[in-house]
């Protein structure tokens, strides 16, 4: 009982972060139908930038959080402006290829500057423990979980209730229609990338402070892909749910079967889910889809 309890807790905690990163996928996919394979590496870069502000510059915690998130936003905008803007209207495969190799470029950039060894640990959250029943819960887990979910919730509300969010959903439906109404699709896509960069950075900071700041952080992008697909590529709520599902499954399988089985199990769930629900749980069912 204790064992499964702690597995569930760590699963949910990781899952919330997967969900947050998956949300980045959803953000970009929704507005431009591009699957951004570099999302995981944007997370890595975001985490390292936070580390830079906190450790190298010695700024205080909140200031470096704020700065890192701001820079994350700028990085998203910059990536869109420099690479994908030129590819609007070009074959999707070329955009996807760009994002795949962009991730390698980012990784190279990070290891060039900060080296490929794990960096010194920064604890954001205090490490107190308390018990719920027989399960041990650290405040660190709790904060990380809460922060990831809050960010996700904020984004969901943003999509539903703000004008900009509405415009993003509109852009997802048809670029030409939006241009005809005087809405600049380029600007909206640009902002979407910015927000995705921000979400990635927040995920990176949470993850870095729990797992350590190291290059391996980008692998989480790999696990966020099944999360996004299972939830449905257009649905922010689905991304979170998919993330939690993948997190749970990964942690339980690796707990009972063995560490090596965790990640493949997540992908197996993805394959099964795709077979039975090709659009994901909350994805928009359209006729022309990849």
């Amino acid at each position: 009982m204790e064992f499964i309890g702690s597995l569930i807790i760590s699963g949910l905690m990781n899952g919330a972060i997967y969900g947050l990163v998956a949300l980045g996928f959803v953000l970009i996919y929704k507005s431009s139908s591009v699957l951004n394979f570099s999302q995981g590496h944007m997370l890595l870069l975001g985490a390292y930038i936070f580390w830079f502000f906190k450790s190298s510059m010695g700024l205080n915690l909140y200031l470096s959080l704020l700065l890192a998130i701001g820079v994350g936003f700028l990085i998203g905008i910059l990536i869109e402006r420099l690479t994908l803007r030129r590819l609007i209207g070009q074959p999707l495969i070329s955009m996807i290829t760009v994002t795949i190799f962009l991730s390698l470029v980012i990784e190279g950039f990070v290891s060039l500057i900060w080296g490929s060894y794990p960096l010194q640990h920064i604890a954001i959250f205090s490490n107190r423990c308390f018990n719920i029943g027989s399960c041990v819960l650290t405040t660190q887990n709790l904060y990380a979980f809460g922060l990831a979910l809050t960010t996700a919730l904020a984004l969901i509300l943003f999509f539903r209730y703000t004008n900009l969010g509405l415009a993003m959903r509109g852009v997802a439906e048809g670029h030409q229609i939006m241009q005809g109404m005087g809405i600049s699709v380029k600007k909206i896509l640009n902002i979407s990338w910015g927000i995705a960069g921000m979400a990635a950075t927040i995920g990176g900071i949470i993850l870095g402070s729990t797992l350590g700041f190291r290059l391996g952080l980008s692998h989480i992008g790999l696990l966020a892909i099944p999360a996004a697909f299972i939830g449905g590529l257009e649905s922010p709520e689905g991304a979170i749910l998919g993330g939690l599902l993948i997190g749970l499954c990964e942690s339980i399988v690796s707990g009972y079967i063995g560490n090596a089985a965790g990640v493949p199990a997540a992908f197996m769930i993805l394959i099964v889910a795709m077979i039975f629900k090709p659009y994901g749980l909350f994805g928009l069912v359209k006729i022309e889809r990849v």
Binding site: M178, Q179, M181
Partner: protein, 262 residues
């Protein structure tokens, strides 16, 4: 207000679609543009609204002037902000959004404070949309979707509204209703309207002035009432031919020959 002179449009640099179209739309008037499939009607609208640029099309000769300034090189977003809104053919609703969300996006470029007032205006024109405001627009019927896209354009308070085949695929009664509303919108909001139509009878009935487009050229134009009496128009667009009489090739498409002589 809007003036096209000798506009030539090429797609992808090689396909010549418009071969010198000239037309004019005055302030607050309804003008219709008739023609068969492939005549270049939609292309003319897209040249005006700038949406041509999104489809590899380009105005290669001639000018499009709006209030004295050339707009043929501008982006569609800029043109829309200047007050020219195109309602594209085929009822292009934003499927997964609700009716009200569609309308809100139509008013995106306007002052946010007026949005409730504008929504009310659209719901007054289309009372049916008020009850459908929270339905997903992709599941509406064709007539309702046409109302959504027209309402969405109205939200922007366009100075010129470009309507591409509003009657396409709709039942005659609904077509009538929609054209009534076009007239009402024109007289109440003082917007100019350019209608592209296959349904010549209705279009001639509602407009003041009409142009007939064929093979990328304006072959005939005049006040709509006069065009409705034209023998060629009657025969080719209104389907009023002298059935059973012998016809000679000499009489066929009279105006086409005449234009060639000019």
């Amino acid at each position: 207000m809007l003036k096209l002179s000798n506009v030539e449009v090429k797609y992808a640099g090689v396909i010549l679609v418009l071969r010198g179209v000239s037309l004019e739309i005055g302030k607050g008037t309804i003008v219709s543009l008739l023609g068969s499939n492939g005549a270049g009607k939609t292309t003319t609208l897209k040249a005006i609204s700038g949406l041509l640029h999104t489809e590899l099309g380009e105005v290669t000769a001639g000018t499009i002037e709006y209030d004295g300034c050339r707009i043929d090189k501008l982006d569609p977003e800029q043109i829309a902000k200047m007050g020219i809104i195109q309602v594209m053919e085929g009822r292009r609703v934003l499927e997964h959004l609700t009716v009200e969300e569609n309308l809100r996006l139509g008013g995106y470029i306007r002052n946010r404070d007026n949005i409730t007032k504008d929504l009310d205006m659209v719901y007054d024109y289309f009372p049916k949309l008020r009850s459908l405001r929270n339905s997903t627009s992709g599941y509406l019927s064709g007539g309702e979707q046409q109302m959504v896209v027209m309402g969405r354009a109205m939200m922007a308070h366009p100075r010129i509204m470009l309507l591409d085949e509003p009657s396409m695929g709709l039942a005659p009664l609904i077509v009538e209703e929609i054209f009534e509303l076009i007239k009402k919108f024109n007289s109440e909001e003082k917007s100019s309207i350019l209608i592209v139509e296959q349904n010549a009878r209705t279009a001639l009935g509602v407009s003041e002035y009409s142009y007939v487009l064929e093979n990328g050229r304006v072959v005939l134009d005049g006040p709509s009432s006069k065009l409705a009496d034209n023998e060629d128009i009657k025969e080719f667009y209104l389907g009023l031919s002298k059935i059973g009489e012998k016809k000679s090739y000499r009489d066929v498409k009279h105006y086409k020959r005449r234009k060639r002589w000019l």
